[in-house]
Symmetry: D2
Subunit: 363 residues, 4 copies
């Protein structure tokens, strides 16, 4: 089943295993005339790269993406854009000893059952390595968004029990402060507290979960298509297609269930001649179509499945066993952190597609 | 943009406005040889029908669906199945007085901006009336699931601050108890408490939100396709395409972020020769593919947007105004209740498609 | 497999069997703001209706289509448009005696093998009755084309060995003359000759094949998407999805193989400041994209499979037998004739989709 | 618009320009467990390579494809397979002098109009170079077909006015004899005549067209999906998406129009207990579904557009000019010849998809 593509008009197809020769992505349907350089792709990738702080995987993953097609004289031509990212640090020999064990919280069991075969080198296709391709494609989508003056930010909203407070932060500073923080959290006080609990988890060979929030300001009205291509439906799918995600919410989200309709309905007002709402519990859409208010949502990431503690499991031959990651294995104690630019990429991809589709709504 | 379809192989397309002549659904891709009757469709629709309790909309919506194609001598033929549901109670004159007002929490503003035109009769296409088509199609999907001995239940997990407790309920009783409850909540004590707060909200002309949980037992291993057609990704999209939904989570969901990896990773064990896990924080999937454990997820429904209280708003001509539903308007004080069979339908549709797609995973 | 849809943005889904309760079509993705009435649909259907001349099936198929959704106050709303066409003349009892015989040139054998079940009433889903839905949808597509001042005509180019000559006919008269002819052939002399050979075939209980040519003038430049959605590729698929078609060609078609490149390459010239070509062997596209010249193609229709002569065949139980249509069966001696408005519809559907898709080619 | 993909389950996406860094293809949806090597891909590519005879382009296009993903320990894993083909002979400087001229019979005009930009280096995306990717993907599809014991052959049926006669050739020898011929024509006498007229055309700086026929024996019954995914509809689309194609026909094709129904209907007979037909005018399908008879079709290729003679044209600034290919340009005097393995690849891709889709036709 062809299941490695996302999008209708602005469509990406990713390929490659974490420890194969390379990974890559084809972006098909990007309109002609957009300026793009290899550097822009690599800048986006560097935000996802490990080693930016002591709490992410130290794998020296100095990705160097190369655009192989679709750009001519610096601009998109309407032809499919292929971006290749070689796998430089792909020693898979350390996976040999554990290749016959089911990994708790991982996909090797389900892949084996589904396909009868599993590329066990570092998670194969189920590895978060695949998300580098999403970030590369997202950089192009983001370029298209900036053409429409749409700006988006994602940041760490919560790790474990520690929450960020962004009330005091101006919208235009949010992204800068986020990427200044080693934990991609714009709230400095929260960052410090998060660092402590991550350090502790790491010492214990354990891991933590987290929440990422995304905010898109300067949204146009009209993006999203009823009834099955609602904007929040496509955002939800995009996010839940990421490894380690357990939940998605838009606007008030799960909190809405304890509110009353009279509180939750955002009243329409006119501001500077423009229709807007005085609150934004909806999170930027009504009936699945953007209403011009900021698009706001949150994604829950489970605690990293790869932990250094020994875990009970069974082998592929159904015998009781213990799973223990090889010494020197490198894993993020909290996957949510590096997922911040990935979430941004997913939002950008969904919006780029919605913008193009919306060109067909009226005669 | 063609956005009224869901699914790849088992694909539905819905059409019709709440106050037009009829609504309907085409199910294309249902395998040949499945027994289906009009009655089975209508039984499913009756669970969604209003008037079953004092807390749902009293609109006398005695839907009578008719299968127009795709069935021959009681069985599916592989041809597309069209189901027609006439709109019997479709007096739209009462919407005339409010047709020039933006409705808080509703979609008429965004539809108007996107399409330049809005079928204001009762919400037009954005109305929850459309979900009757999903339930009709879901009845056929559920028939396919039962062919694979897959059983599913959805129920009211929470309304406002009142939660159901199903720990004492046996899995095989869950669905029966659910549909015996006027609030589709299998926990009798919670049902009574929920009834009280709904009654109060109704009296105040207000509304409440709620959470629905779904549980699918006897899941086969292998459903769902990496990386963009993960089972939870398609479930999330299906649920977030429903009116009034604000969030989706699978397994541990948002709760996972306060857990540690060592707690959250479900250990593999062998039980009666079969691989299983001793806990189910994953909620039934690993790497987006079903692992044979129960598939468990939750959906947040916002408090009903249609409330009887007057609300501040603006008109289509950008003037300040007050929105007030006409006397005699009939709306559920809590939309989550009637959404229970709809959530079941959406789960069934996603699984039916995943089952067929999975036939192509191996040579 | 969901295979009853055509198109990406402007997408149709048809359903219904020839002798079921009704047939119908859902048009999803038609832009909002287009004026449409039931009458326009029915006028288009009347061109396809039998009984207009002695050479088409006399079945009194007075189709009366009804638009059930998607139109509000006379205009499309962006919502899916469902058109229902009841089956009035659907006595299927006469098919009982032949239901266990494989019909030469028909699909009952392949349907039976593929699905294990066959709706034998009049051909079920494989009947040309399905094409009424294409014509109904095509009427809406044609309305969209006329919004862009694109005009199209199809006509009978050849029946048996008799060819039409349209050299003397002005482009603007072509469609009128076509539909004035009982054989949809604008050449009056050819019409008379065709009538003779059709009459003869009919008397012999036999049938004839034919070629339809379509011509689209005032084509915009830029329709069609490389490399797999070339305009001629989608036209070919649309035409070869029609019952009884055996071939498709564009521009010079099969005749091109006896030409030289120096003859076949259409030289570019500038006419009234506009780029055009001095010949049109290409048939209106270059590299799969329309070049502004008339779009010209031809479709071969085999002789009608339903003939009144007895034919050798076998039964579903693999025994030798003779197939003989019941007395009073009504079939066109040449299916190509009534296919003229169907071909027009298919061209219109492909172009409507291409026009919308082309809105996304540039930033 | 995402238009560089073909197929539903077995889906290919191609990318790359003729004179860019590389071209490539992603095959998504290939079932797990199929043995594939780089060598098999390269063997298929070598059949398409130029330089095999004096009548194809002498460009030294020693393609060396590399599989970058989706294969583990020699077998497909169900993950997307990316095949990369570097462009070795990609000096585009010679295109500089003609970059501002519209090329007769080529796509630079339509690309420029559609996208506002054109990668003029050797035809960019519109170049036949793209078809190497189809051949690479087709090699995998053909491997899947051989798993089902389906064998296919394409060959040169006609060049200019010279036709091949294969009546005396046994089915099992057809492919071998085809690839032994420098012109991919199994009829030796015809090969010699064809060689003469090609030589003449080449000397004159001119070009010739041709017809390719494909024959698939050992077809299973049941492939193809009514009504818009008929097997011949998808074959037609696949073929008409190839550069230089002007027509497609199946079975009797355009010849059918001069036959009578009583001749054309293939009578069903039982042979060795199996249902078959005593003739095969249908060409292997009935109602769009394969009937077990050989699948037979033909494709018309226009004379090569690149000729060495000077041609009248206009410039991008709308001035009269003359187009002349640079000395030393290398082009096939008849593109049909090298298209033989490409046609084989397209048939294989369509059938692989149809085989997988057919797994979903029954419960």
């Amino acid at each position: 089943m062809a299941s490695n593509s996302l999008g209708t008009i602005f469509k990406i197809t990713t390929w490659g295993e974490s420890h194969g020769k390379a990974i890559g992505v084809v972006i098909d349907g990007c309109p002609a005339g957009l300026s793009i350089t290899d550097d822009e792709i690599n800048q986006a990738l560097s935000l996802r790269a490990p080693g930016r702080n002591p709490y992410t995987s130290p794998r020296t993953e100095t990705d160097k993406a190369e655009i192989l097609s679709g750009i001519f004289e610096g601009k998109t031509t309407g032809a499919p854009i292929c971006i290749l990212i070689p796998n430089k640090d792909a020693d898979s020999s350390k996976y040999e000893p554990i290749k016959d064990l089911l990994r708790p919280g991982h996909a090797n069991y389900t892949y084996l059952e589904k396909y009868g075969i599993f590329d066990y080198r570092g998670g194969g296709r189920s590895s978060a390595r695949e998300t580098a391709c999403r970030v590369a494609a997202g950089a192009i989508a983001m370029k298209l968004l900036s053409h429409y003056s749409i700006h988006l930010t994602a940041y760490i909203k919560q790790i474990g029990n520690v929450s960020a407070n962004i009330n005091a932060i101006k919208n235009e500073d949010l992204r800068i402060l986020t990427y200044q923080s080693p934990l991609y959290c714009p709230d400095k006080i929260a960052t410090d507290e998060m660092a402590l609990i991550i350090e502790k988890a790491k010492t214990e060979g354990d891991s933590l979960g987290g929440i990422i929030e995304f905010i898109v300001s300067s949204m146009p009205v009209g993006l999203g298509d009823p009834v099955y291509e609602k904007l929040e439906a496509n955002l939800a799918k995009a996010m839940m297609s990421l490894p380690a995600t357990k939940g998605f919410e838009i606007g008030s989200g799960f909190h809405s269930i304890t509110m009353k309709g009279s509180e939750h309905n955002d009243p329409f007002i006119v501001e500077e001649g423009k229709v807007t709402t005085s609150s934004n519990y909806a999170g930027g859409t009504l009936g699945g179509i953007s209403n011009g208010m900021p698009l706001v949502g949150r994604i829950a990431f489970k605690p990293t499945s790869s932990i250094m503690q020994p875990q009970k499991t069974v082998s592929t031959s159904r015998e009781n066993s213990t799973f223990k990651l090889p010494e020197g294995s490198r894993h993020d104690p909290c996957v949510a952190i590096r997922a911040v630019p990935i979430v941004e990429a997913m939002v950008a991809l969904v919006l780029a597609d919605a913008i193009l589709l919306n060109r067909c709504s009226k005669i």
